[in-house]
């Protein structure tokens, strides 16, 4: 679930307030806060839309964990999802444009080594 708003990076544009499907964020006195963390469904959409990579959604769906902004920065985790789908400004291509995976059923039928 959502664990971090980098106050250093956040520009208060409130796009995440708008796009979060479960209404997790609020703006309070011009500052973004995680107001309802328990409603987060760990869908990562806020990260995809954040223009300054200020948000971090931890991969744990059912529990909150401690995170360190410094460590996440060091590991290149802030904005890694947006970069992966090609939504970072200046991206040459998007993940959608690279997705040449053939139709899945035919694909697995041809390539699957054994029936599970």
């Amino acid at each position: 679930m959502i664990e971090l708003v980098s106050q250093e990076r956040c520009i208060g544009c409130s796009i995440c307030v708008k796009v979060c499907p479960t209404n997790v964020f609020d703006m309070q006195d011009g500052q973004l806060v995680i107001a309802r963390q328990e409603d987060c469904q760990t869908c990562f959409m806020c990260e995809a839309y954040c223009p300054v990579d200020a948000l971090y959604v931890a991969p744990y769906a059912d529990r909150s964990v401690e995170v360190s902004e410094e460590a996440l920065l060091h590991q290149g985790m802030l904005g890694s999802w947006r970069a992966e789908i090609g939504w970072t400004t200046g991206s040459q291509t998007t993940m959608a444009a690279r997705d040449t995976t053939p139709f899945f059923e035919q694909f697995t039928k041809t390539h699957r080594p054994k029936e599970s």
């Binding site: 307030v17 708008k18 796009v19 979060c20 499907p21 479960t22 209404n23 309802r36 409603d39 469904q41 760990t42 869908c43 990562f44 959409m45 995809a48 839309y49 931890a58 991969p59 744990y60 769906a61 059912d62 985790m77 890694s80 999802w81 992966e84 789908i85 939504w87 998007t94 993940m95 959608a96 444009a97 690279r98 997705d99 040449t100 995976t101 053939p102 139709f103 899945f104 059923e105 697995t108 390539h111 699957r112 080594p113 054994k114 029936e115 599970s116």
Partner: protein
């Protein structure tokens, strides 16, 4: 927060409730037919729902007779032979046209070596961002963070809906000639990817207006998922081996028929681990781009799923991947109530899948096709209404009274208790995956008691009020689910009865259910047709 004078009141031709793929296709299609359209989403149209965070294959098959016959046959038996060729043909045609339309709108389909576009899959973030853009361009008014709480209707049929904006607290009412329900299925707040906005709201609102449901016994889909994660994408587990903690193999476990083996182990308290060690080396980079965020939770934990075993669970996806939903009365997705249409997971998907859906490709095809059928149907209905539209005497249809802030009777903590109570009846594998008459009867009795408690409670126009209303929709959904599942005394599609193993040819019919306080269920014959396969 809101006072009554601030209430938003709109009049339109077509109101679409839900802004996922089905809702956006309905909105765009109705607008293209000349209708004025309002679209209300409980979250944000563009990021909300099961599709937006996911990658999905699409049932896109070239209009070649042999290919089409193969495509139709591929899941016909798995679904318990409840699909209809007439519907499969229409959906294949419409999906083909809609995918080509997406290319025209600028969806970045990849190019193959010959420079032709691969139009076989869609990436959720890209797809739904584009759909929002197209919806806006079509002149549709979008209401974000605006869950509908009840339908409005009179003796002529449905004529609108009312709800609240959860960010401003301002109640809204939209009067409309026709309403399309595209609110998705119900995954019972299990945190399956993108699914926590899908709480069965549309089923409850439709039933309150008199609509019927179909196939609600096919509502117990469970996805293989890393225990810690929300990413419920099962397709890649066809490349997995399953192990116990000591490294010995779990015999018979798998993503297709072996899911029950995983469930039985988890029920006995034996953790099962997966590793995608059957994936050939040259496919790994392709797999990475094929499912939009399958790898994200692994990357964030430093797990290489191709080599490192990770614990798995089965997360309930309910009717999102299950096929039950609102019964459709005609080929333009009309329901049994005049003026009310249904599309996507909110509508029954039995018509193309029967009682089982494997991967998402049929689901994505169904969403975009049924969405555009419903948009056409609703727009045509409004045209027929014409001048009669002016003189309506609309009533609010909610069973629970919906009231202003501060006038409700539900304590905020109650909604969470109700949600937990429903989850206790629908999540456990020994209740809902391996079904028996005895256990389901016990669950249904408790759920009936829960409904009686909830139905008296007045719901406020607040965030907590919306949650209480969602809890009521979940209770109602679970009751229709077990009522139908008890009536089907056989195993068919995803519906598995431990006390009635095997398919019974005498039950080759659909089950229609409905009612609010008193539930009923009756069989309906599958349309007879020549089956080629």
């Amino acid at each position: 927060m809101a006072i009554q004078e601030q209430a938003q009141h709109l009049k339109t031709d077509v109101l679409v409730i839900g802004g996922g793929p089905a809702g956006t296709w309905a909105a765009v299609t109705a607008a293209a037919k000349g209708a004025r359209v309002v679209l209300a989403d409980k979250g944000y149209c563009g990021s909300s729902g099961a599709t937006a965070p996911s990658g999905t294959g699409v049932w896109y098959v070239k209009p070649d007779e042999r290919l089409r016959e193969e495509a139709k046959a591929s899941r016909y038996d798995m679904g318990g032979r409840l699909a209809e060729h007439r519907w499969m043909n229409r959906v294949l045609d419409r999906t083909y046209a809609n995918m080509n339309q997406l290319a025209g709108w600028g969806y970045p389909f990849p190019l193959d070596d010959e420079g032709n576009q691969h139009r076989r899959s869609l990436q959720g973030p890209e797809y739904m961002r584009l759909m929002r853009k197209v919806v806006r361009k079509a002149g549709v008014t979008i209401l974000d963070h605006s869950p509908a709480l009840e339908l409005l209707a009179d003796e002529h049929g449905v004529g609108g809906a009312a709800g609240v904006n959860t960010q401003t607290g301002i109640p809204w009412t939209v009067e409309a000639g026709a309403v399309v329900i595209a609110t998705g299925g119900c995954a019972f707040l299990s945190k399956a990817l993108g699914c926590n906005v899908l709480t069965g709201d549309g089923y409850l609102m439709a039933a309150e207006a008199g609509a019927n449901l179909s196939g609600m016994e096919f509502s117990n889909a469970y996805a293989i998922c890393p225990t810690f994660s929300s990413v419920t994408k099962t397709a890649y587990y066809s490349y997995a081996s399953f192990y116990y903690e000591d490294g010995t193999i779990v015999e018979g476990a798998g993503s297709k028929r072996g899911r029950s083996v995983i469930a039985r182990n988890l029920m006995e308290g034996r953790q099962v681990y997966a590793v995608l060690d059957q994936a050939p080396e040259h496919l790994k980079p392709l797999l990475r781009v094929g499912q939009t965020n399958f790898f994200l939770p692994f990357d964030r934990r430093g797990i290489d799923p191709f080599t490192d075993p990770f614990p798995v669970t089965l997360r309930l996806e309910g009717t999102v991947r299950g096929t039950g939903g609102i019964r459709l009365a005609d080929e333009f997705c009309a329901t049994d109530v005049p003026g009310l249409y249904a599309a996507g997971d909110a509508a029954t998907r039995e018509l193309i899948c029967g009682g089982f859906t494997g991967g998402g490709s049929h689901n994505a095809a169904w969403a975009m096709s049924s969405g555009s059928f419903a948009g056409e149907g609703a727009a045509a209905y409004v045209k027929k209404l014409g001048a009669h539209d002016g003189s309506r005497n609309l009533e609010r249809k909610s069973t629970q009274p919906i009231v202003e802030e501060g006038k409700g009777s539900v304590k905020p903590s109650r909604a969470a208790e109700w949600v937990q109570a429903v989850q206790d009846e629908v999540k456990p594998y020994d209740r809902n995956l391996f079904r028996t008459g005895e256990v389901m009867t016990q669950s249904l009795n408790r759920l009936n008691g829960l409904w009686n408690e909830q139905r008296e409670q007045a719901i406020e126009h607040t965030v907590d009020g919306v949650k209480a209303r969602e809890a009521a929709a979940m209770t109602a959904t679970a009751r229709w689910m077990y009522t139908s599942a008890l009536a089907r005394t056989e195993s068919r599609g995803m519906h598995k009865r431990s006390d009635f193993a095997g398919m019974d040819d005498n039950q080759h019919y659909r089950l229609i259910t409905g009612g609010l306080d008193q539930l009923w269920v009756r069989p309906e014959q599958v349309r007879k047709e020549v089956v080629v396969h």
